[in-house]
Amino acid sequence: MRLALDDNDGSLTDQIIETVDTPIVILGPNGSIKRFNPASQKLTGYASDEVLGRKVWEFLIIDEEIDGVRAVFEKTRGEDTPTHFTNYWKRKDGQHRLLEWSNKTIHDRSGKVSYVLATGVDITDAQATKLQLSETQAYLMSIIDASPIAIITINERGELQSFNRQAEECFGYKAAEVLGENVKLLMPEPDQSRHDQYMGQYMETGEKRIMERARSVLAKRRNGEQFPAMLHVSEFKDGQPTFVGFIEDITDQKMTERRLKETQFQLQHAGRVGAMGEIATSIAHELNQPLTAAASFAGAVSLKLKKAEYAGCEDAIELLDDVVSEIRRASEIIRQMREFIRNRKTAKSLHNVNQVVQEAATISLIGAESEGVKLETSLDDDLGELQLDRIQIQQVLVNLIRNAVDAMKDCDEKRLKISTAKRVGFVEITVEDTGAGISDEMKERLFEPFATNKEGGVGIGLSISKAIIDAHQGEIFANIRDSPGTVFTVKLPEGAYDEARNHR
């Protein structure tokens, strides 16, 4: 039978081939083009009469694919079932399009191949999109893997669906080992046992326990070690509910925090002890005077009672001895207190001066009083380490900084500048403020105990500071200047202490 295909008699089939949007090519048994529908013409840029009679692989197929296309053609010719193949077409202008083909052989009555019918779909754009999609996905994956925060996802049963590189690092598991496992494995007790319940509750009631807000939790590494972490959980729906957990290991942060807290505590303690020392020294003298007078009066009476005319007063004399010995005891207590405090000799070791300064600044500026104060630091990198008692030096710095902040309380411009500098033979630390300056009446007594013009001030900060710096064989002084503001300078000698200390 002759197919209606090769006579342009307007049959239905013919119309379909002519109007359809799909490239349709009809090849002869040897592969030469018999028909090249308008969609094909449009796709390739070739007119029908340019291609009729030519073999497809002679001009439409890219070199690398010629063998493949011919093989498929042979295969299609030999079979009844349609074949499928994807290959490029080279357009007249040289551009390539990717087409997905369905090929079917049409036989004549005698069973001989009369035509091969190839219907193509241009998938160039779809392919590009697909490629782009997978690229995007890879890109996102690499972002997720590069994240410094562990990111994991779980399904509604709590099974791990993804586990990024940081999660591997942080927990010590490989993603492949844990995917599909329950997320509880990453938690210590009691959360481990309760997690199913948490999830069940959420799934049922929608009640958020930890969702949508970061909170600090304990997490568990593969080796059983627990670590503090910030956890943030979000939910999204990807067909079924999925939960993403962002987990940040805050061990280091916690340690810094703890160290700062400890320092703060030690400073407060040192401050109290230092204050006590100053007060004790003053009291020791002030209180010793009346005690001396009292003991002397008692002694005088006792001596008088020993005179002949007072015979029989032995009891009274004994009582007076008791008075004197109690007075001595009082004096001894004061002495011990002062000594105890004085005994806290400096405990020096090597410290990075800049770090000491920075910590002191951080601690001093905690709190409301320092609100609005702009801190400027200029730290000399060449400083290195120095033998010093960290807590004591920080106590001095905290004193200076708090004084500076106090002095700027009523000022519009509150600038605090803390600098360190290496000089020949010593290190210099300065604390500069833009405050009210040191009042005249204060200038002379600045470093004396109980010199203060602050309400509620004891006035021992600077006298303690001076004692501490003296013990470090350094110097502390204030630049009294006319312009507003004050600069306190602390000079710490390099190594001087060592020699003195080790010289036994």
């Binding site: 005077q289 001396t292 002397s296 001894e332 000594e339």
Partner: protein, 216 residues
């Protein structure tokens, strides 16, 4: 009944800025039959110095006063070649100050508050010195040297620490022993040196010219 103020026990020039101390110590010393002349400051004392009879007398001065301090007064007198034995009064336990005063030529020191016995012992010793007009600090007596030589090196170290004004605890730390061990050493030293009081031990150490600068 009144007794004569002036007795042959000697005169004490008492210099202290605290009026209660002046009154109390005057009462005590009068009862112990010394004659007492008080001044409220070093300046006050210096202003009446020319009118005072310095024979058989001793200066009892507080080391810590406003204005001219005890040590300075001692210096001033030394500069003027005034032969007056000086006893300084220190706060209880202020050994470094006491040692400085003793090096400076004070014959003794008294820790406030003091007992009748302590003040009498110190005054009598100073007055006898003033009568004999000699300072024992120049060269140590051979007997003292003998005693000193009996100390072990450790005891000597402890003694230096004490003279330097350190507490047992501080000495213990430097020597890396317990404070109790230091206290034991201390007792032994007192015994070996034959010192009746802490002040006497210090006096001896200074006479021996023990330079204790080993802790600082």
């Amino acid at each position: 009944m009144t007794r004569p103020e002036i007795t042959d026990k000697g005169t004490v020039f008492l210099v202290d800025d605290d009026i209660a101390v002046r009154r109390g110590v005057t009462a005590l010393l009068s009862a112990a039959e010394y004659s007492v002349e008080t001044s409220k400051s070093a300046e006050d004392f210096l202003s009446k110095l020319s009118s005072l009879d310095l024979s058989n007398a001793v200066l009892l001065v507080d080391i810590c006063m406003p204005g001219i301090q005890g040590l300075e007064l001692q210096e001033l007198l030394k500069d003027q070649n005034i032969e007056l034995p000086v006893i300084v009064m220190t706060a209880h336990g202020d050994v470094p100050m006491a040692v400085r005063a003793m090096r400076n030529g004070a014959v003794d020191f008294l820790e406030k508050p003091f007992t009748v016995v302590e003040v009498k012992t110190a005054l009598d010793r100073a007055l006898s010195m003033s009568r004999l007009d000699k300072t024992p600090l120049q060269s140590p007596e051979p007997a003292l040297l003998d005693k000193f030589e009996k100390l072990t090196p450790r005891e000597e170290e402890v003694l230096r620490g004490i003279v330097d004004g350190n507490t047992n605890k501080e000495i213990a730390r430097v020597l890396d022993v317990s404070p109790r061990t230091v206290e034991a050493h201390r007792q032994k030293i007192m015994l070996k040196m034959g010192a009746a009081s802490f002040a006497e031990l210090i006096r001896m150490a200074i006479a021996l010219n023990i330079d204790g600068n080993y802790l600082q």
